[in-house]
Subunit: 399 residues, 2 copies
């Protein structure tokens, strides 16, 4: 095993060559780094016949900030294990891990060349009918089979312990649940909505609910989450989508993954009037997004219910009343986390292009205000919303 | 370090002698095994001047069943660490650990010779005014300082991981939450209440709530619990009490420790009419027990509130609305777990002497029926009971 060193393209080439049968002895390999993430190097290695693989290496610091923010490279181990576990139960929607090297903190992955990043596609106004249904399947499968419904107490505890992921969880604990609700220097607030952001710092009722959501994030290891399921972590093409970037994975509340994705669909939703010159275009895209939110929950809850009914291995948790209550709580949690995502992407450190790319400053401010208002209502009303129709009513009412 | 071997009295003597300065070179030591527990050897080692210490060694099997039920001796490490952690924040009510040897799975402990086992004292009708107040302090301190209010995410995750305790948790998962609600061969049901026990096996509404309590036991690591806080784990004397036997310790829901103790006070309570020949005596003891339940919750919630207000180190969790909601949830959880304790001690594998020692079979059956009825109501009504007065009303109403 080689000692850790930061990969150059030639290292990535050698790594891919060594750990895959794809390339063959006499292939001419090329490698280029193209990562735009903040924490890692990402290389595409390809041969002269057009076959290619991805080499992802964790850097010992957060790339966006520089070497001053050290970050464990152990996250590569976590990412590899999360993707492997999710890939075992839902291979069709999880990027494939071909090899992982702990010493080098490097993962060899299938190249999703035929896919595009969902966020870019949504911003461009593209619509994929299969998105919500497939992501619902990914979450139902990956979350159910890592939950107490399926794993014994001892097996789950061992998995929880292997995937504690304290350093990356801490980033979420701070950026997601704390910074937006105080005047933190890491926040990134456009001046046009400063007054709206400041209201968050004094909103005791909202902060009480966010505290509860944070406490669950800290201490509710229901299932093995992806942990960062925004629309930049989903690759999509005409007939399929696959999840990447699982380095934030850990055992947490099931609603966190659902809420992250719902939040990102709604971030795109609130930005529609600012992005489309034609109101009709905006309305169509909004309609598409709401329908995806609805399908996402309906498909997830149906598939998860079915798994609970047929595959639950803990006799005490087979009770159907309990399972219904459980799903109701997952819905409430999901809406709460979706609300947090709307807020933190608007005023926190890490913004999303859905909002930031709106060129008209006034329209952007309106979209951002809608994101904050919608986020707030989702968090405050989450336990009172009995089903996804009521959620859609709330979203549309707030327009 | 010596390899593991099962201690004889001479080994216990040598172990105590080596790891304490108490005895001195020329003391004549004697040692005798006196454990009545199910999982361990317990020796008292004393010198000719009357000084004494306790040596507790974990056996590689559950003693009550025999060598056919293997059980990790690693539980000695867990017990030592839980007692040390609790002792650090609440030394006055935690038995002192003088030495721990991992290889031998042996712990050297202070001898609580001046103390009696609380269960025996309660059965004998003794009353200790300080009991509830001191145990409230023990729980407020030990639970607060191991919670997310005080520990950072990474520090807490590391502690959770060290103290997963999967094997002993599994015993609780089965005996506490599963067996009593089905016709399990491990159950121990007196024939006079068989019909009452059978109702539990078909009570879907109750089972749904027990499932929820079990799910929290599995996946709500709020704080480092004692994990087995019944009245046999509490030693008491005129002016003090101390907690022993922490081998079931792990990070779980705060209400579990509170509920275990409340449940044990109520087990003694329902047995009063069967134990005392004089109704007046029974009524006085009942009054004492209810007042202890009330003080336990009031003192705990007051002290825990104060700690949350003054010592909380997570800014997001400092919100006072949240802290109130949190305590309300702890009360509901506590009542639920108290209800489970009442039920499982009546129909499950491990009974309590409070009930079993009632010599009149008809009175014993009445007490057991009251335990089941009260347990059921506490579980079903737990989220609707707003304060401890309402709880006491429920208890008295059910008489």
């Amino acid at each position: 095993m080689a000692a850790y060193h930061i990969f150059k393209p030639d290292d990535a080439k050698a790594f891919a060559d060594k750990h895959s049968g794809l390339f063959g002895e006499h292939s001419q390999l090329t490698a280029a780094e193209f990562g735009d993430g903040n924490l890692n190097l990402v290389f595409r290695v390809q041969n002269d016949k057009g076959s290619s693989l991805i080499v992802k290496q964790a850097l010992p610091y957060a790339r966006c900030v520089g070497e001053s923010w050290p970050l464990t490279t152990d996250r590569a181990r976590i990412e590899a294990e999360v993707l492997e576990q999710h890939g075992r139960v839902c291979p069709q929607h999880t990027v494939e891990v071909l090899h992982f090297d702990a010493e080098l903190s490097a993962i060899l992955l299938e190249d999703l060349k035929a896919y595009q990043i969902l966020r870019h596609e949504l911003i461009a106004g593209k619509q994929f009918k299969h998105l919500a249904g497939q992501m619902a399947t990914y979450m139902a499968q990956s979350l159910f089979y890592s939950s107490d419904f399926y794993l014994s107490g001892p097996a789950k505890k061992a998995a929880v312990s292997r995937l504690l992921n304290p350093e990356l969880c801490l980033i979420t604990e701070d950026l997601f649940f704390s910074d937006p609700y105080c005047n933190h220097e890491r926040n990134n607030i456009h001046s046009a909505i400063l007054a709206d952001a400041q209201k968050l710092w004094h909103d005791q009722a909202l902060q009480a609910e966010v505290a509860s959501l944070k406490a669950d994030f800290l201490s509710k290891p229901q299932a093995l989450l992806h942990g960062d399921l925004h629309s930049g972590s989903i690759f999509i093409k005409e007939d399929n989508c696959k999840v990447i970037d699982a380095e934030f994975g850990f055992y947490g509340p099931i609603g966190f993954d659902l809420g992250s994705l719902i939040g990102n669909l709604l971030l795109n939703y609130v930005a529609c009037p600012g992005r489309f010159a034609q109101p009709q275009q905006a309305a169509e895209q909004e309609q598409y997004l709401l329908q995806q939110v609805s399908t996402l929950w309906q498909e997830f809850s149906q598939q998860f219910s079915q798994l609970m009914a047929s595959e639950c291995r803990d006799a005490a948790l087979q009770n159907s009343h309990y399972q219904q209550q459980f799903l109701q709580q997952v819905l409430a949690d999901s809406l709460g986390y979706a609300g947090c995502e709307l807020i933190r992407r608007t005023v926190g450190l890490a913004h999303v292009a859905d909002l930031d790319s709106i060129s008209n400053a006034s329209l952007r401010a309106q979209a951002e205000q809608r994101a904050l208002a919608l986020g707030r209502q989702l968090i405050l009303q989450r336990t009172g919303l009995a089903n996804i129709s009521q959620v859609l009513n709330l979203v549309q009412y707030l327009q």
